[in-house]
Each structure stands twice: as structure tokens, then as C-alpha cells.
């Protein structure tokens, strides 16, 4: 049965949001996690705890505080407005900012854990061959902690896809702009339109399942090449 045009829009928007968020998360998260995994300063414990905080608060509550922070009356909201000419709340950009904050621990934690197991000896070897920081990062750390990167990206992406509370609060459920799939799906359930909810949820599940199997199958295949990793 039928997925309405609005569902398609929501799906598309969700994928965009999840993709953009994941990219930003990886770009921010990887160096952050690396630094956290190497630093021994006390300050880094504070940063580590701060990054993990969004884990503790319920998403709607985070959303509520973000909503307040995004208000043009407050620093974040007003500076963003001044910089981009657009408000943060109730816009796609706002969703991205919110999702990044909310999903950051889901990316940083697995990466950090992966980096912690990284064999420093290989980095030293690369260093003697003249490999600089970025070189080592892209040619050693990423391939050797591939699994941690996959996990981080997956958790980040999926968490953004399934996110609900934050998006509802700061997004305002505006079709085409901030109405993501999770909210549309919730709306169907709330409107007792169970059939559509089933279809949408089923489709989403089937799609995700197929994607995950592909991803894991591929991962597993590659894995057997490098036994110890």
C-alpha cells in the first residue's frame, strides 16, 4: 500500500539529515577521539565527560534546552542569525546542529575505543618513513581501525535517523523542512493510521536490513584478509 508523497519527502529529508550529520560527526569526531585517546592531561577528561553528557539526558529535554539556546535572544541563536541570516530553530541547519550535538558521543566513543587499541609501534615505523600526521591518519589509522570507523558512522547515522525527541523540539515538525521520518511515522501512529505506520516502518526496516547485511557481509569478507585485526 501507499506511502504518501509526504512520507517520501520525510524519508528523503531524513536521509539527507543523517548523511550530512554523519559526515560532520566523522570530521569532528575522528580528531577529537584521537586526541582523547592519546592525551593524558586532566583537561581531556573534562572534554571526554562533556562529549558524553548528551547520552544521559532524555532527547526531548536536550531538545528543549537547544530550543532555548537557538532562540535569537541567546548567544548561539543570535550569532548564527548574524552569520547566516537564518535562524537556527525550525530549520534544517538547526536539525543538523542538534543532531551533531546529540549523536557526537555515539561517534566519539567507538572511535576512541578503537584508537585506544591501536598499536603505536606501527605509527613509529611510519614516522621513520617520513609519514606526517595526516598521512599516518589516512594510511594507517583509518584502514587499521576500519571496524571502529564503520561502527561510529553506523551508530551516528542510525541514531540520527531514529532520533525523535530533539528533532521534534527544535524542528517543529515542518513538512519538507524539518519533518523527518521518525516524526512522520510517529504522527501516523498518533493518528491511528496504523496501516500506513506499518508500511512505513516495514519498508524502513527492510531497507535498513538489506543495507546492513550488505555492509556487514562486505566487512566480514574484507576482515578475513587481515586475520589479526
Amino acid at each position: 500500500m501507499n506511502l504518501l508523497a509526504s512520507d517520501i519527502t520525510a524519508l528523503w529529508l531524513t536521509l539527507q539529515l543523517a548523511a550530512v550529520t554523519t559526515v560532520i560527526l566523522m570530521v569532528i569526531g575522528a580528531p577529537l577521539a584521537w586526541w582523547l585517546s592519546r592525551s593524558t592531561s586532566k583537561f581531556s577528561s573534562v572534554v571526554e565527560a562533556t562529549v558524553a553528557l548528551p547520552l544521559i539526558l532524555p532527547p526531548t529535554v536536550i531538545g528543549f534546552y537547544l530550543l532555548i539556546a537557538f532562540s535569537p535572544d541567546n548567544f548561539l541563536g543570535s550569532s548564527w542569525l548574524a552569520l547566516t541570516g537564518q535562524p537556527l530553530a525550525f530549520t534544517f541547519s538547526g536539525l543538523v546542529v542538534g543532531s551533531v550535538i546529540y549523536s557526537l558521543p555515539f561517534v566519539v566513543q567507538p572511535l576512541q575505543s578503537g584508537f585506544q587499541h591501536f598499536d603505536h609501534k606501527l605509527l613509529e615505523a611510519a614516522e621513520t618513513m617520513g609519514a606526517g600526521t595526516l598521512d599516518r591518519f589516512f594510511n594507517l589509522i583509518i584502514p587499521l581501525t576500519r571496524r571502529a570507523f564503520v561502527t561510529a558512522a553506523l551508530l551516528g547515522f542510525a541514531h540520527t535517523m531514529g532520533e525523535f525527541g530533539v528533532v521534534l523540539m527544535i524542528g517543529g515538525n515542518i513538512p519538507g523542512e524539518t519533518q523527518v521520518l521518525s516524526i512522520a511515522l510517529y504522527d501516523h501512529v498518533e493518528a491511528l493510521d496504523y496501516q500506513r505506520a506499518h508500511w512505513l516502518a516495514g519498508g524502513l526496516l527492510a531497507f535498513s536490513f538489506a543495507l546492513l547485511i550488505l555492509l556487514y557481509g562486505f566487512n566480514r569478507h574484507k576482515k578475513s584478509g587481515v586475520k589479526q585485526l
Binding site: 532555548i68 530553530a89 517543529g172 498518533e190 491511528l192 496504523y194
Partner: protein, 262 residues
């Protein structure tokens, strides 16, 4: 502003969304016949969330709340246009239960408060009663009030399962986890018309409106600045077609005199 791209953003309490969707569809059909093309975006959430969002500058033009106080507060804070403040609907409170007819020795309980088959019996017999959250949802407050009037408030207290809103209370009941629920008539009619038909079990619905001293009055307001399209939509709400849609959806209409027309 070309009429072609005009957009009307309406925020509504979740319980009114299905009816509002029908309303906006009918409205659009009428308007588009006049070649004034536009788009209506409906956003739903709980009234409290929408209220907070409007305070933070959410781009909504109309707000259909599940109570009267949020629209009033918005007017007081200067966000709402006082002239558009109105009660647009009165919710009907009903009790639904899954008991077989035999269980209650009655033939047809629907609509009537038959002797011996009172809501009190049902509420006393139920193991779990689903209601909306009385702290946040108007129908929750109403449900508590009704149980108070029925004199079962104390006995029911430990059986209550509280949904965030009536839709959730309905799901508690509908999924079979609660055997009775006090919800809005609008939900029951929605359920009647949609998926519930497939379900073999018959529902019992008992109107509890008569047990309420404070019926659930749902208020609305337009957010400043009020666009012509918003004005048009509010006018449309007073047409008979619109009123028919609302009553079919399980709402009572407020007395005409209280309405404010532009």
C-alpha cells in the same frame, strides 16, 4: 508574494490533526478552484511543545490547541493576535472497554448509560485504565474529573496507566494491554473508520460528557502577523462543510456567539 507559493503553516495538538487534515484538504480544494494556489503544512505535537516553540519563534501561523489556556497565554505574551482567539471545538470524553456484551449482561450499551451497566461498573472491573497525562493533557484532566464524579477516583488510582496524550492512551487500550480507556470521542470515531474495523472485537463506548463540570474546550489563535490566507482558513472553519467535518470527527461545536469572525 505570488499566490502560487503561499504557504500556510498550521500547528495543531495531535488529537485534532486528523480532522484538521480533512479540513485543510477541503479548504484547498475550494481555494484552488479559485486559482489561488497555496500549500498547507500541518505540524502536530503536544500543545505544550507547540506553545514553547511559538515562544521561541516557530514559523506557525495558526495554532489549534487542545485547551484554551495556551492560546490565551500566547495572546498575553503578544505572539497571538487577540482578535483571532476563539474556542473552535469541544471534545467529547468517552470510556471505551473491551468487555464482551455478555460480561455486562447488556444488549447494546453504545451511546446510552444503561442501568446496571454504568461506567462505574466497567471502571471497577477493569484491571488497567488508560488515560492521558492529567498534568499535561486536557483530556487527562477531564478523565480524572469524570472518575471523580463517578466516585471511582480512589479505586482507579492504582490501575491507571498514563499515556503522554490520548493517542497513546488509546494505543494502550487498543493493543490489549489496558482493558479500558478514557479518551476523546474523536479517536473512537477515527478508529471506527480506519483500522479498527478489521478487529473482530466490538468496542463499547460510553459518553462521559455528562460527568464533566469542565468540558474540554479547545482554543485556537493566529500568530502575528496574520496572513490573508490564515484569515481565509479561519473563515472557512465557520462554514457548514467545516462544521460537518468537525462533528463527524467527534467534536462538539462551541456556541456560535462565542466565535469571533473577522
Amino acid at each position: 508574494h505570488s499566490a502560487l507559493t503561499d504557504t500556510l503553516s498550521i500547528a495543531t495538538a495531535s488529537n485534532f490533526r486528523p480532522v484538521l487534515e480533512q479540513l485543510s484538504q477541503t479548504f484547498s480544494e475550494q481555494q484552488n478552484a479559485d486559482e489561488a494556489r497555496h500549500k498547507i503544512n500541518i505540524s502536530s505535537a503536544s500543545s505544550g511543545v507547540i506553545y514553547a516553540q511559538i515562544l521561541q519563534g516557530a514559523p506557525f501561523q495558526l495554532f489549534f490547541s487542545a485547551n484554551e489556556s495556551y492560546p490565551e497565554k500566547l495572546v498575553a505574551s503578544g505572539h497571538g493576535e487577540p482578535k483571532t482567539l476563539a474556542t473552535y471545538a469541544i471534545g467529547k470524553l468517552i470510556l471505551v472497554s473491551r468487555y464482551e456484551i455478555d460480561d455486562l449482561e447488556g444488549e447494546d450499551l453504545e451511546g446510552d448509560d444503561l442501568e446496571g451497566k454504568s461506567p462505574t461498573d466497567i471502571l471497577l472491573k477493569a484491571k488497567r485504565i488508560a488515560i492521558a497525562n492529567p498534568r499535561t493533557a486536557p483530556y487527562g484532566i477531564a478523565a480524572m474529573e469524570a472518575m471523580d464524579s463517578l466516585g471511582v477516583a480512589k479505586e482507579s488510582q492504582s490501575k491507571l496507566v498514563v499515556g503522554n496524550n490520548i493517542a497513546q492512551a488509546w494505543q494502550f487500550f487498543h493493543s490489549g494491554n489496558a482493558d479500558a480507556a478514557i479518551v476523546a470521542e474523536s479517536l473512537a470515531s477515527l478508529a471506527e473508520s480506519a483500522a479498527v474495523k478489521e478487529q473482530q472485537q466490538r468496542l463499547f463506548t460510553i459518553d462521559l460528557s455528562s460527568y464533566l463540570k469542565h468540558p474540554v474546550r479547545q482554543g485556537r489563535v493566529a500568530i502575528k502577523p496574520v496572513s490573508p490566507l490564515a484569515q481565509q482558513f479561519l473563515s472557512f472553519m465557520n462554514t457548514t462543510i467545516a462544521e460537518k467535518i468537525m462533528t463527524d470527527g467527534g467534536y462538539l461545536l462551541p456556541t456560535k456567539g462565542k466565535d469571533i469572525t473577522p
